[in-house]
């Protein structure tokens, strides 16, 4: 009987490893940018091509940066959540219109509503590279000193908002 215990124990160790592995999401790569200063940018605003917005213009307040595009179907899923968040008057959301055409982005906002204070226009994805964007939509929480405090990859769900982002915002604004 005893000689079966060791293989059995090894089997359970293996099962534990596999079970953990199954539950990890390989698409969620933790960002090295969290707790680092948000990369500087200088971009025109989607609705106003002549207006330039810089990262430093946003110092002094806590804000969300949401990466979106009109070609991104998952953005459509999270959009009502952001609209609702903006309506409740939380912190300002700034968009990053990633690899999109200006008229497509504007049309999308007209069609689905605009939760953004402004959207940065990033047609060739350079700001996206600076922010390590690889799976749109992505959402960053940036504090009043311009430091990235949290990054969410994929659509923001009401659960993520309630359980993670809003508690963090309350802490940052306290």
């Amino acid at each position: 009987m005893k000689r079966f215990l060791l293989p059995l124990a090894l089997f359970f160790v293996l099962v534990a490893f596999l079970a953990t592995g199954l539950r990890l999401d390989p698409r969620e790569v933790s960002s090295p940018l969290v707790d680092k200063p948000a990369p500087a940018f200088q971009a025109t605003v989607l609705a106003r091509p002549e207006f330039i917005l810089r990262r430093d213009d946003l110092l002094g307040k806590v804000w969300l940066l949401n990466v979106w595009a009109s070609w991104c179907s998952a953005c459509r899923v999270e959009h009502p959540v952001l609209i609702d968040f903006a309506r409740r008057g939380g912190v300002p959301i700034y968009g990053l219109n990633y690899k999109d055409k200006r008229e497509d982005g504007l049309g999308w906002l007209r069609q689905f509503g605009n939760p953004y204070r402004d959207s940065l226009f990033d047609p060739d994805g350079r700001i996206g590279i600076d922010y390590g964007v690889y799976g749109v939509p992505e959402t960053f929480v940036i504090d009043s000193k311009g430091v990235i405090r949290y990054k969410h990859i994929g659509p923001v769900t009401p659960d993520v908002l309630r359980d993670t982002i809003e508690p963090l915002l309350r802490k940052l604004n306290a």
């Binding site: 790569v29 933790s30 960002s31 090295p32 690889y134 799976g135």
Partner: protein, 162 residues
């Protein structure tokens, strides 16, 4: 005789027409992909060398060099531009790691978090070899009749059906 010649001629004429059609269809599609091979072949070669070291985060089992994902194309352009500005390979890999983490590197650095990754296979091999050596040594010490299929072995009484 004459008939066979005509048949051969029509067949080769058909083959030529086929080849021509194929050319017509193939040339434009390769013309679409061509511009990536940029003006400077030396930079291009170095760019591909760096890109082979990097994982594409959109299609995670491909390198930036292999992938056709939009992000991979953007990153290749970024690498190309950085090389043109005189940045070294090391600086570019650091730049990517700062943004995407160690996960983008196909050869991650050795540090506490990745130690198991690097020494794990050797560790498993050592365990397996030790186990093999132990078993072989134990069997060596057994007497010859243990391996005789006709004699019931000593433990048979707790395994055998009653």
């Amino acid at each position: 005789m004459h008939e066979r010649l005509v048949r051969t001629l029509t067949r080769s004429a058909r083959a030529v027409a086929m080849a021509f059609l194929m050319l017509v269809f193939i040339v434009p599609s390769s013309a679409v992909e061509a511009p990536a091979a940029a003006e400077n072949p030396e930079i291009e070669a170095r760019m591909m060398a760096v890109a082979t070291e990097l994982r594409c985060l959109v299609c995670q089992n491909q390198t930036i060099a292999d992938s056709h994902a939009g992000l991979a194309e953007d990153l290749r352009r970024q690498i190309r531009e950085m090389l043109a500005k005189g940045k070294s390979e090391r600086e570019i890999l650091d730049y990517m790691t700062e943004r995407y983490g160690d996960f983008v590197l196909y050869r991650p650095p050795f540090k506490p978090a990745t130690a198991l990754l690097w020494i794990g296979p050797a560790l498993l091999m050592a365990v397996a070899l030790t186990a093999l050596a132990t078993v072989l040594r134990r069997r060596q010490r057994m007497s010859a009749e243990v391996f005789d299929p006709d004699t019931p072995d000593e433990e048979a009484d707790d395994d055998a059906p009653r």
